[in-house]
């Protein structure tokens, strides 16, 4: 299994493919008014946190675990954009949170 540094690189590389076209935003069933309630909002938060060290980790965790992994976002991305998999990246980011925390605890 990949270590957290490898996983982080994998995640950031995938996020970097996203063209920020926002086609997926409205597709997210959790999206109501806040950008952070959407698939692309979550990817942005992932990037800000893991690339630039911004934002509180607990806040990021709340955003990530509010995703239902329903993949409606990536269905849209696949058909009209670059084919990023936000739902799958979000699960990987949860995995990174878990791994980083476990490594700290060890």
């Amino acid at each position: 299994m990949e270590n957290s540094a490898e996983l982080k690189k994998q995640i950031l590389d995938e996020v970097a493919i996203c063209r920020r076209c926002r086609m997926c935003v409205n597709m997210c069933p959790t999206y109501d008014k806040w950008f952070t309630e959407s698939s692309m909002g979550r990817l942005t938060a992932i990037n800000l946190h893991f690339k630039y060290g911004l934002g509180d980790t607990k806040e990021l965790s709340d955003l990530l675990y509010a995703c239902t992994s329903c993949r409606r976002c990536q269905q849209r991305c696949k058909m009209v954009s670059v084919g990023v998999s936000p739902a799958d990246i979000i699960v990987k980011a949860r995995q990174l949170l878990v791994q980083e925390t476990q490594e700290q605890e060890r």
Partner: protein
């Protein structure tokens, strides 16, 4: 401040991981998972192995527990605390899942066991040589993956493949979309030498009905709408098969939700894990989805996923308790009872 797992990961997710690791099932119940199959005489070994999954086998407990958790939330105790409490109680030997199972004795409230019975009955009527691993059936562990516990998930997946191999399993028929997607697509990428062939129930049933040209029939005219479970539509790409099956059944009329809300665009009902971490959001999603399905005017909402069944039933209780929620598998079983005798093949 150093953050620990407990601060960062919702307690509901940690609770499910603990359950899978300690009890080999999602709910953490001690009960024999195969009790539903006691009267069915399914052999361990056969051409196809039936994979029942935690959802249908244990949802009755999870449902009762979540109901209790909701009750505590309404008096101001946060879900995370309830889930944490649940874990603490276990450490001193109290198992809420077992307690819930004892409270819940009314078989009418158990909407899940009968789906398993129907599924086995359908496959047997269609001539599938069917086995089942009984208490040896492992939990696929996918909730651990979605919660971020990949290391645990990998270990569990490798162990499971060993179990399947030790029983000579080659072909699996899965029922629950999440388990089936895990066994069909996630495991091959992660487990060394994984070579099991996996189908979802609908793939087998659609193919068999077509092959035998069977025309099942319901005894009275029934109008339904169909809710595509996310994992079935977008992880397994199974959207045509259930419609083919429905199309074959006489006296059964399907009214689809809006095209942008069905098939591969189906919207999540909020079941399947979210209610263990974010009750309010799960309720909002359930309510939205219920509205979309109710707009079809159908009096029965049909789907095929234990989490969707639970969540939609829950959402409809408040909106329109007259509308029934049921599993497509049950309808197929009922309709097959009335299939006109097959003309002998020449």
């Amino acid at each position: 401040m150093k953050k620990t797992l407990k601060h960062l990961i919702p307690a509901g997710h940690i609770y499910m991981r603990d359950n899978v690791l300690a009890k080999d099932n999602l709910a953490g119940a001690n009960e024999d998972k195969s009790a539903w199959a006691n009267q069915l005489n399914l052999p361990h070994k056969a051409e196809y192995t039936f994979f029942a999954g935690c959802g249908y086998q244990f949802m009755k407990y999870t449902e009762t527990m979540l109901e209790a958790a909701r009750g505590m939330e309404s008096v101001g105790i946060k879900l995370d605390k309830v889930m944490g409490l649940n874990r603490a109680l276990k450490k001193v030997g109290l198992n809420l899942a077992d307690a819930a199972a004892k409270i819940m004795t009314d078989p009418k409230e158990d909407h899940y066991t009968k789906v398993l019975h129907s599924a086995v009955s359908v496959l047997q009527k269609l001539g599938v040589d069917l086995g089942y691993l009984h208490q040896d059936e492992p939990c696929c562990g996918s909730p651990m993956y979605y919660a971020g516990f990949k290391e645990d998930y990998l270990k569990n997946a490798a162990r499971n493949f060993g179990i399947f191999r030790s029983f000579g399993v080659k072909k699996i028929i899965g029922l629950i979309p999440a388990c089936t997607a895990a066994l069909k697509y996630a495991y091959p990428a992660l487990v060394k030498d994984y070579d099991l062939k996996v189908w979802h129930f609908f793939e087998i049933v659609a193919a068999k009905l077509k092959e035998a040209d069977l025309k099942p029939m319901l005894s009275e005219k029934t109008v339904i709408t169909y809710h595509d479970p996310c994992q079935l539509a977008r992880y397994l790409n199974i959207v045509d098969e259930p419609r083919e099956i429905i199309g074959r059944i006489a006296n059964l009329e399907l009214v689809e939700p809006l095209p942008e809300k069905s098939r591969e665009w189906t919207t999540c009902c909020g079941g399947g894990g979210l209610e263990a971490s974010n009750q309010k959001l799960a309720e909002r999603l359930g309510s939205n989805r219920a509205d979309e399905l109710l707009a079809t005017g159908a009096s029965i909402i049909v789907t095929s996923c234990p989490a969707c069944l639970k969540q939609l039933r829950q959402s409809l209780k408040k909106k329109n308790p007259q509308v029934k929620v049921m599993d497509l598998i049950e309808l197929i079983d009922q309709a097959l009872l009335n299939a006109p005798e097959q003309s002998p093949k020449r």
